[in-house]
């Protein structure tokens, strides 16, 4: 069947619906065949049946459509009076390639195979017209095949636009949400602060410390302080400062500190200058002689006598369903060993939904309170201080957008690359924390109570494998041509 309306050759094109006028004299079609009437909705030709007849529409209209093995109907065209159908199967001898049903009460001339052959023999113009028609279909089919192949290649391609789309959405959502969020954080911690804190060299500080002229204060979190600190140092966790000011003052009073007493504050890291933050806070309280280490502010560990204890990881907290979901990616190692399963698009669907749910949950646990996550990022000590808050704001939205894209089937390969990339970053951070024995929370699913350990690395490795599987084998239920469709994405 042609996509365009066909008319009988040799005669004038007959407008659709013209009552019985369609009987081109030159073709003498009216002289052969049997006239048949079909009520609206009647199936005239069934796709897959063996062909016996050729039909000319005398009156009415017919719909031509195909049904896929899954029962999906594709309407190809409608033909009106003067048009014909059924010639393709008659010529090729192949089963019917489409079904035809009466779109309204229709009168047809049914011509048998023998009559059709005779008609072609006696009517060269009709024969030429049919050959021309078939050739046009062939050329058209080639073009469509090429377009489809190009389209499918483009669908599977990962373009820069996709990265810009996911990254851009994440950044825009993050900034807008932070603007309206009650728990808003500054984009860059300490940006624009004038540094008025006195700096002292390591050697000078050590000399004063050995002479007992300094009060030494560690500004880090308690878990880090417990693990290692300068002998005799106090711990004023700067992150608790506003809550505990009187308590800190009391402890300074116990040490007979006056506003002029030299106070050395240490504990700055790449990700946050805790020492400077605390120094500013104490200076505001009236302690004028606060100072921090100049140069390598992390060098105190090697220069000063320290007190050490083995690292004490946070107590593990139960995370219920989410905690259980996180274990499923570990099982992917087993599935990946089975080649047919490994390549299955159905496994890709499973991976997409699971990764999507896990990453959306990751995101929701962080989005509302970015300060909590920012502090987590600081504890890993890998992100420069200027990037901590930006990372803490944007990453959860990246997780959310990529997770939703995976579940909804939008640009799944790019979303899988995003998520795989995040898994790699998480694994690097986790391994670094484990090797350095940082007593920190993972900050993966929950806000606290989530120790960093090798299991976390394994879970992330499982999720990375799932992302790789999606990248290579995802084919089903993808966004395509402006809509969501169930179909195999084959080239």
């Amino acid at each position: 069947m042609a996509a365009a309306e066909k008319t009988t050759a040799g005669g004038p094109a007959v407008p659709a619906g013209t009552p019985a006028a369609a009987c081109p004299i030159a073709l003498t079609i009216c002289e052969i065949g049997v006239e048949k009437t079909f009520a609206k909705g009647t199936l005239i030709v069934r796709q897959g049946d063996l062909p016996d007849n050729f039909y000319v529409i005398r009156q009415g209209r017919v719909k031509i459509f195909r049904l896929s093995p899954e029962g999906i109907r594709t309407d190809l065209t409608e033909l009106g009076a003067g048009s014909y159908f059924g010639e393709l199967a008659i010529v090729t001898g192949q089963p019917r390639t489409a079904s035809v049903e009466a779109a309204e009460d229709t009168v047809l001339t049914e011509i048998s195979r023998e009559e059709f052959d005779r008609l072609l023999d006696d009517n060269p113009p009709l024969a030429r017209q049919i050959i021309k028609q078939l050739s046009e279909w062939l050329v058209g089919a080639d073009k469509r095949l090429e377009q489809e192949t190009v389209h499918q290649v483009k669908v599977r391609e990962v373009s820069w636009f996709d990265f810009i789309l996911i990254g851009g959405l994440s950044i825009v959502f993050a900034l807008i949400f932070n603007f309206y969020n009650d728990n808003q954080i500054p984009l860059i911690q300490g940006w624009g602060r004038a540094e008025t804190i006195k700096e002292i060299t390591l050697q000078e500080a050590l000399a004063k410390y050995q002479a007992g002229e300094l009060i030494v204060i560690d500004a880090r979190k308690d878990s880090f302080f417990q693990q290692k600190h300068i002998k005799g140092a106090e711990n004023f966790q700067v992150v608790f400062f506003d809550l505990m000011v009187p308590m800190f003052q009391f402890r300074l009073e116990q040490r007979q500190a006056t506003p002029e007493t030299p106070i050395l504050i240490y504990g700055g890291t790449l990700s946050r200058r805790f020492d400077l933050d605390l120094a500013h806070a104490l200076k505001d309280l009236g302690y004028e002689n606060v100072m921090v280490l100049a140069g390598d502010y992390t060098a105190w560990e090697k220069a000063f006598p320290v007190e050490e204890k083995p690292a004490k990881p946070p107590m593990p907290m139960e995370f219920g369903l989410v905690g259980l979901l996180e274990w499923i990616p570990v099982s992917i190692f087993v599935l990946i060993l089975i080649p047919p399963v490994r390549r299955s698009p159905y496994l890709a669907i499973f991976c997409r939904v699971l990764l999507g749910v896990i990453f959306i949950q990751f995101a929701l646990s962080k989005i509302m309170r970015p300060a909590v996550f920012a502090l987590n990022v600081v504890e890993y000590q890998m992100m420069p201080a200027w990037g901590v808050n930006l990372w803490a704001l944007i990453l959860p939205w990246g997780e959310l957008v990529a997770g939703l894209f995976l579940i909804l089937g939008i640009r799944t390969r790019t979303a899988a690359i995003f998520i795989g990339g995040m898994n790699v970053i998480f694994m690097v951070g986790l391994v670094n924390a484990i090797l350095n024995q940082y007593p920190i929370n993972c900050g993966c699913v929950g806000e606290v109570g989530e120790p960093v350990n090798w299991w976390k690395v394994l879970k992330n490795a499982g999720m990375l494998l799932m992302a790789v599987q999606i990248y290579f084998y995802d084919r089903l239920f993808v966004l395509d041509r402006g809509g969501f469709i169930w179909r195999e994405r084959k080239i």
Binding site: Q237, V245, I360, F373
Partner: protein, 124 residues
């Protein structure tokens, strides 16, 4: 079968809403009130903790005239206090919510560690 983005959108929104509500905490109402430390802290007087029904909280050093703002929610029957710096204090209700033992370690523990615990009594 072709389905439009708009047909799928509600499904996505419902999914997101479910997860959003799942991520939210439990009812705050049973814990709303004013709490005060049973004993003075560090020789600097009492701390008053006011848990408001809108999720905000005040941490007041009564005698020092100092105050800090927090946010709070309830999870697994415990009060989670969020400070702007990103630290979390977890309060364990005791004696039918008459007392609140607040863990000031900034970490999660089964209960409230003795050396990192501030005990509050409900006064309002």
């Amino acid at each position: 079968m072709r389905r439009s983005l708009w047909q799928r959108l509600p499904l996505g929104l419902v999914l997101l809403s479910c997860l959003w509500f799942w991520a939210c905490g439990e009812a705050r109402l049973p814990f709303v009130g004013t709490y005060k430390t049973a004993e003075p802290v560090a020789n600097k007087g009492h701390i008053e903790l006011v848990l408001k029904d809108n999720g905000e909280a005040d941490w007041n050093w009564v005698d020092e005239n100092r105050s800090a703002k927090l946010k709070w929610r309830v999870q697994d029957g415990r009060v989670w206090l969020y400070f702007k710096e990103g630290v979390i204090l977890i309060g364990t209700p005791l004696d039918g919510n008459k007392h609140l033992a607040v863990d000031i370690s900034g970490e999660w523990h089964e209960g409230c560690p003795v050396d990192k615990c501030i005990n509050f009594t409900r006064v309002k």
